[in-house]
């Protein structure tokens, strides 16, 4: 079956597959690392054991998710070279140093302090343990910052010149790092990670509330998660809108595909809610649309003219149907999250936050929504950048490594088999841990790899008795 595909298509499939799998883990661990820091901080401040129990619970889940993020991330750092070597040669001088900064400032920070955060509380004391927890959270955020700068530069390149070998040569690092789409993309992604985590935490809280409304840990985490959903979703919708306007300015073709605007609209473009993109006829079949609303959203003027894909050369047109659909999935989920947040506020105001099984079921159902929305959002922006790797400058077809199609096909199959097996197992283990109540003494068979000797937990003077009992 794969024999019918070109090396380019196979390499693109492989990159899309491995990066999609990878982004799921950071999207979760960025938010969860911050949540752990908040939980540990609240435990130290209030000495309320509920926070400590929650910290211990989510810490173990974090360890598994983080491990999967690390190993799938190492793959990414080599795949630029193995499959996209011409891109690496050309764009390496610009994006390479940004990734080096990511490794130096973020990966080492996370890795160096992760061991202490997971296993070291009894050995280093509460203060240093808190410091390590904050460093892990900071590392995840720094990592997001650098990698989004890289991605944004590929979308909206700035601060470069091109030398005789066709390499992009950095001229102004400030302009490169803070390229036009970077601030928008960074805010949009970090909020997305926080929302994703909030929805997962909320779903786990809801699950345990459905079993026992009095469960103290379930109540605490559900309440915290619903505050996040209620407060962050409106911010995210606002940030997404700003990001969209920025995209309209710098990558109009992507917005045309998102909107499904094959044709130009000189006096006000309609907002197409639904429809079936028809690539052959270059139109949207069965379109359900609201007249002039697109112009209002994008230009803040009902009658503002909007160009369509008819103004773009066919060679430069992104695949419309994928972008059109993924964008709608993301938006629909965003509004569903808003609905959940508002519902939780209303229930909270009525004093029924912990006594509304219907709300809990909705929160449970929304648990994976963040992941789907993150993936849909990335599909929108990455496929919308096509047919370029560096927007407008370097075509995807010109970025490819000189590797034969059979080699790429073999590695693609290997990645698919291994990832589904390994990450399927990991997801199963995480789901099983989530299924256990946080207050239960252990959530796995053992509480994870247990540390070396030296200082016995009994020597701890101010540490939590509970943790010593758990080992870890």
């Amino acid at each position: 079956m794969l024999a019918d595909f070109s090396a380019e298509t196979l390499a693109r499939m492989q990159f899309a597959f491995t990066v999609s799998f990878h982004i799921i883990f950071p999207a979760f661990s960025i938010g969860l690392a911050s949540y752990l820091a908040v939980l540990n901080g609240l435990w130290l401040k209030t000495r309320d054991e509920t926070y400590l129990t929650l910290f211990q619970y989510w810490k173990k889940i974090f360890a598994v998710a983080f491990g999967m993020g690390v190993v799938s991330g190492i793959v990414m750092s080599y795949q630029f070279g193995t499959n996209w070597s011409v891109f690496s040669d050309r764009a390496g001088p610009v994006v390479g140093p940004l990734m080096a900064y990511e490794v130096l400032s973020a990966f080492f920070l996370e890795a160096g302090f992760l061991g202490i955060m997971l296993f070291g509380r009894a050995r280093v004391g509460e203060r240093l343990h808190m410091f390590a927890t904050v460093m892990v959270a900071l590392g995840t955020l720094m990592s997001a910052t650098w990698i989004l700068s890289v991605n944004s530069w590929m979308q909206t390149p700035a601060g470069y010149s091109v030398n005789a070998d066709g390499q992009f040569v950095p001229e102004d690092w400030w302009a490169i790092v803070f390229n036009p789409s970077f601030p928008y993309r960074l805010v949009h992604m970090v909020l997305a990670a926080y929302l994703t985590t909030a929805l997962v935490v909320g779903a786990v809280g809801a699950l345990h509330l459905l079993r026992n409304r009095a469960d103290p840990e379930a109540r605490r985490m559900f309440s915290m998660a619903m505050w996040m959903a209620a407060l962050v979703t409106p911010l995210q919708i606002f940030a997404g809108d700003a990001h969209g306007l920025n995209t309209l300015e710098h990558q109009p073709a992507k917005v045309m595909a998102m909107e499904g605007h094959y044709d130009s609209h000189p006096d006000g473009a309609p907002l197409i809610l639904f429809g079936i993109p028809n690539a052959a006829e270059k139109r949207i079949d069965y379109a359900v649309e609201i007249p002039k609303l697109s112009s209002l959203i994008l230009k803040h003027d009902l009658n503002a003219p909007l160009d369509g894909l008819d103004t773009i050369s066919d060679d430069d047109e992104p695949p419309v149907a994928i972008v059109f659909w993924s964008f709608r999935i993301m938006i629909a989920l965003g509004f569903a999250m808003l609905g959940l947040g508002v519902w939780s506020l209303w229930a909270r105001w009525r004093g029924r936050l912990y006594d509304s099984p219907l709300l809990h079921r909705a929160a449970l159902a929304m648990g994976p929504a963040g992941f789907v929305a993150v993936l849909a959002g990335w599909v929108t922006t990455e496929v919308g950048r096509q047919p370029f790797t560096v927007y407008g400058l370097l075509r995807t077809s010109d970025s490819l490594a000189p590797v034969d199609a059979p080699a790429v096909a073999t590695s693609l199959i290997a990645f698919i088999v291994v990832y589904f097996f390994v990450f399927g197992a990991g997801t199963y283990y995480i789901a099983r841990m989530m299924n256990k109540r946080p207050g239960a003494l252990t959530i796995g068979l053992a509480d994870g790899p247990i540390r070396t000797a030296g200082i016995t937990p009994a020597l701890q003077t101010h540490g939590p008795s509970k943790e010593s009992r758990h080992g870890t």
Partner: protein, 334 residues
């Protein structure tokens, strides 16, 4: 005089790769020795001895790859497609072994599966790294700015030999690490392995060293022409001294000396490779300066490296310090 940034960066990348080899070397080595553990308790101890640090160790591999991408993009663009199969296999192997650190504690029925994944992943990753090294020493065919060979060029008897040498060498590091971290029966068992693996490693290093000068006439000249060979002869002399330290250390029951001497084998071997390679980044035709990114890239990345690498080394050392000392087998069972 302007600083030679490309040269400084070649040194830094070499440093990152060396740190990776010695650090991840012993933790991959523990995976390679995993099937030889006699009890499940021993396996738990072995894995726990590296669990707090393995992630940091592996980050040096990302720095090696990411650093190459950043400052020698042409070398990265040539080497990765040339080593497509071994690199891809190594990455998949690292996936298996990396997740088994957490997974094997999360299941009873499948614990054996993740034990096997830990061994298989560690073994295959080490083998692929050794093969990649051998393939690089042999030289990589370049045309214009791209790899020009086929997708099985990396596979030769020489690269298989370097692959085996790295597997055995990593197992030696793993055995020495366990001698350092663990007491009683497992310590004695690993001490015995360390002696055998030490002999095997030295034989393999010797074979690779003998064959290397014949891979490229430039290497031969570097090692066997006066007056250069007066300097290069320091390498085998230091190696012989380390061999003496290693075996006497083992014999008198020291826990620390064998580990230090085994690390020394790798450092000296690495320096030997450096002597063969210089001034090539990718033998036989791509030099450090040809492969280097534009000056503005080198300078920008160097600022970060100069500030951050010392900090990284400091907190990495701290993390090792926190988890210092012998493992207590009683901690961790409830």
């Amino acid at each position: 005089m302007a600083l030679d940034l490309a040269f400084i960066w070649a040194g830094l990348i070499a440093f990152a790769v060396l740190v990776y080899v010695v650090l991840d070397g012993f933790d991959l080595g523990i995976g390679i020795l995993f099937p030889f553990a006699k009890t499940e308790g021993d396996r738990d101890l072995m894995m726990n001895s590296v669990a707090p640090v393995w992630d940091g160790n592996e980050t040096w591999l990302v720095l090696g790859g990411g650093g190459l991408f950043a400052v020698f993009p042409l070398a990265y663009a040539v080497v990765m497609p040339a080593l497509y199969m071994p690199i891809t296999l190594m990455l998949l192997a690292l996936v298996f072994r990396g997740v088994s650190f957490e997974y094997r504690w999360r299941t009873k029925r499948w614990k054996r599966v993740w034990d096997a994944a830990f061994f298989g992943g560690s073994f295959l990753a080490a083998l692929c790294q050794g093969i990649a090294l051998g393939a690089l020493v042999q030289g990589i065919e370049i045309e214009g700015r791209a790899y020009a060979g086929g997708w099985f060029d990396w596979l030769t008897p020489f690269s298989v030999l370097t692959g085996v040498a790295v597997v055995v060498g990593y197992a030696l590091l793993g055995a020495c690490w366990l001698v350092l971290k663990i007491e009683d029966a497992l310590n004695m068992q690993m001490r015995g392995y360390a002696r055998l693996l030490g002999i095997a490693t030295l034989v393999l290093i010797g074979l690779v060293s003998l064959l290397t000068p014949f891979q490229d006439p430039v290497y031969f000249q570097r090692w066997f022409s006066l007056p250069g060979s007066l300097w290069t002869m320091i390498v085998p002399v230091v190696m012989l001294a380390l061999v003496w330290v290693f075996f006497t250390g083992l014999a008198r029951g020291s826990d620390v000396t064998p580990m230090l001497a085994a690390l020394g084998f790798f450092v000296v071997g690495f320096i030997g490779l450096g002597i063969s390679f210089y001034p090539m980044m990718v033998p036989p035709s791509l030099t450090i300066w040809q492969a280097a990114a534009p000056e503005s890239s080198l300078a920008f990345a160097l600022v970060g490296a100069v500030i951050l690498i010392p900090i990284i080394l400091a907190y990495t050392a701290y993390a090792y310090w926190v988890f210092r000392g012998k493992m207590d087998p009683n901690e961790g069972y409830h």
